[in-house]
């Protein structure tokens, strides 16, 4: 079972080497920066007006949090969807349909709450 993941491991190693080689080669071949000004943060040649390491809009946290909730629920729906036909075949179609419907209803209620409360409202 786990041995079927062996080629994936090979692929991972290869992909890592790929990135490393590209970055390493360009660092080796490329010219050394000779101008200190070039190493400053790019802001159209002016002194940086503000540090980016500051607080930013809470909306993004909101999106991240709501994503986390919904993504977990989507993940829980995967096995349901995949086994749906097997349940129908064993005569439990209506049961599994209603179960899924209940789950989706919970999802929809949560979604309605999020939308109505304006958590996803952008000015």
């Amino acid at each position: 079972m786990l041995s079927s993941y062996f080629p994936i491991a090979v692929l991972f190693i290869f992909a890592l080497i790929l990135g490393g080689v590209f970055v390493g080669l360009s660092a080796w071949i490329g010219r050394r920066p000779y101008n200190k000004v070039r190493l400053e943060p790019y802001e159209c040649g002016l002194e940086p007006a503000d540090s980016p390491r500051k607080r930013f809009s809470v909306k993004f946290f909101m999106v991240a949090m709501v994503f986390l909730l919904f993504d977990v629920e989507v993940t829980l729906l995967f096995p349901w969807a995949t086994l749906f036909k097997q349940f129908i075949a064993s005569g439990l179609g209506v049961f599994i349909f209603i179960e899924g419907l209940l789950f989706i209803a919970v999802l929809v209620i949560g979604w309605l709450y999020v939308v109505r409360k304006g958590a996803l409202k952008w000015e």
Binding site: F87, S90, G91, L92, F95, I109, L112, Y113, R116, K117
Partner: protein
């Protein structure tokens, strides 16, 4: 698959009626809250009146509906209690009289908590719909905890309860203390949940099952590794659940959270959350302790002693009533943990005294918090003990009620607190723990010191400045809560037989 086809879904739904009612009620409130019209109450209902000194918000019907849903769930619990002589095991949930009594206790606390919200929420402009929804969902989570036969479901219940509780604690976003308490509770609670989950994982490692029914003394359990995992699991579980019920080394969050959270929420924390966590604690320990060496019982006993003394000693220095009651709640968690020690030797007696203790503690702590809440002036909570000065003259009935609650918390006759402590210690002696009993009595004597402090202030300290202590008009429900709580404390304290037989009928192991 076959078993799914043959399940009687209606019977299942009927047996889980309280849970379904709480969830469906909460969901309906949630949805109604989203589209609630701006002006739905008629003008006469919205205006200030003699009984309510603030405008009644338009979302008040949601609170009432939540109370109604909880009430119906309570009645459903009662009906089930009457019908269920024997435990009814259904997959992950077990419906026996133990869980039904616990359910009634918790749902009763929730009704009281919602009733306390009336007025407080108006004055502090808190979101009524969300308060109701969170209360109902948290109660559903508590139900999952106390009636679960499976540790996984219990954990889900704990998380439903805890996450709702974190939000409830931080609900008053305009109040820095409330936000702080919500954040503290959340951070520490998350760590505690992780410990709990670790404990559950070790239990699984020891027994190979998550079902509490499967924790039996068979061959697997005799293996030394199983014993090791079991002890490790118990230790982790104690840390996690010890946090939830505020046992001594893990109690530090309690004063801050109880102080910062809105008073109705605090009252509900002290009663419902604590009861739910204790009942789950008891349910797990009931099957785990017999499998273990005496070490587990000794651990709980040690925690209980530490909790009692730390809670009571720290409370002596408190000048803030909410903090005082918070430390008192820690101390009471210590007493209740003694019931678990009893349970290790005499299970029936232990559970009886635990139910007794939790029930009486819920009633008296809700009463005490309700009085404190009623004393708050418009938009401000009254928290310092000194502000109680002269209350005995100004509001004799209220002062009397508060005195009753405090005396009951101290465990003096003729109150229910005395009866509860009496049964607890009597059973402890019966189980042969003399040392623990003496420690409990000593710490109880210490506690009289700080419980009498507010009483002394109320009756004997002259009023310093004659500020017009106006407006205690926050509605009928809170007065009803205080009245019924005081009545219950006195009646159950003087005539405990019926309640005793009710509880003993509930414990059929």
């Amino acid at each position: 698959m076959e078993s799914l086809l043959n399940t009687d879904w209606l019977a299942l739904a009927y047996n889980e009626l309280p849970l379904l009612l709480l969830i469906v009620g909460g969901t309906l409130v949630l949805l109604a809250d989203l589209w609630w019209p701006q002006h739905i109450l008629p003008r006469w209902a919205r205006r200030k009146s003699a009984t309510v000194d603030v405008h009644v918000p338009d979302r008040t019907p949601l609170l009432l509906f939540g109370m109604l849903a909880a009430l119906v769930a309570f009645i459903a619990c009662w009906r089930l209690w009457v019908q269920h002589e024997m435990p009814n095991q259904m997959g992950m949930l077990v419906i026996d009289r133990f869980s039904l009594v616990g359910g009634m206790m918790i749902i009763g606390s929730t009704i009281a908590g919602l009733a306390l919200g009336w007025g407080y929420l108006f004055q502090h402009k808190l979101p009524i719909g969300e308060y109701t929804v969170l209360m109902l969902f948290a109660t559903a989570g508590a139900w999952c905890m106390i009636s679960s036969a499976n540790l996984l479901l219990a954990f889900v219940g704990i998380e439903i309860l805890s996450i709702s509780a974190y939000v409830l604690a931080g609900m008053d976003t305009k109040n820095r203390l409330s936000v702080e308490s919500g954040l503290k509770y959340f951070l520490l609670g998350a760590v505690a949940s992780a410990f709990l989950l670790f404990g559950i994982a070790f239990f699984y490692g020891a027994t190979g099952t998550l079902s509490l029914v499967g924790f039996t003394n068979d061959g697997i359990m005799q293996a030394p590794t199983s014993q090791f995992y079991l002890i490790l699991g118990t230790a982790f579980f104690l840390v996690g659940i010890g946090f939830k019920v505020a046992l001594a080394p893990f109690h530090t969050w309690t004063p801050d959270v109880y102080e910062g959270a809105p008073i109705p929420v605090t009252a509900w924390f002290a009663s419902a959350v604590k009861a739910a966590a204790f009942l789950l604690f008891a349910r797990v320990m009931l099957v785990v302790l017999p499998l273990m060496p005496a070490l587990g019982t000794q651990l709980i006993a040690g925690l209980a002693i530490a909790t009692m003394f730390i809670g009571n000693m720290a409370a002596l220095w408190q000048d803030n009533i909410k903090r005082l009651l918070a430390y008192s709640s820690i101390a009471h968690a210590g007493y209740a943990a003694l019931a678990l020690v009893t349970m290790a030797t005499i299970p029936e007696a232990g559970i009886t005294s635990l139910l007794w203790y939790l029930m009486s503690y819920s009633v008296m702590t809700i009463g005490a918090f309700a009085v404190v809440q009623l004393l708050g002036r418009d938009g401000e909570e009254l928290t310092s003990v000194g502000a109680l000065a002269g209350l005995g003259e100004r509001h004799p009935w209220l002062a009397a009620c508060l005195s009753i609650f405090l005396l009951s918390l101290a465990g003096l006759p003729p109150t229910v607190g005395f009866m509860a402590k009496y049964y607890l210690l009597a059973n402890l002696v019966a189980a042969g723990h003399w040392g623990l009993t003496i420690a409990a009595i000593i710490s109880s004597l210490i506690s009289v010191g700080y419980y009498s402090y507010p009483i002394v202030v109320m009756y004997f300290r002259p009023v310093a400045n004659q500020t017009p202590h106006n407006s205690m008009n926050v509605g009928v429900p809170i007065r009803l809560v205080i009245f019924f709580a005081a009545l219950a404390v006195l009646v159950a304290g003087i005539f405990p037989d019926r309640l005793m037989s009710f509880i003993q009928n509930s414990v059929l192991l």
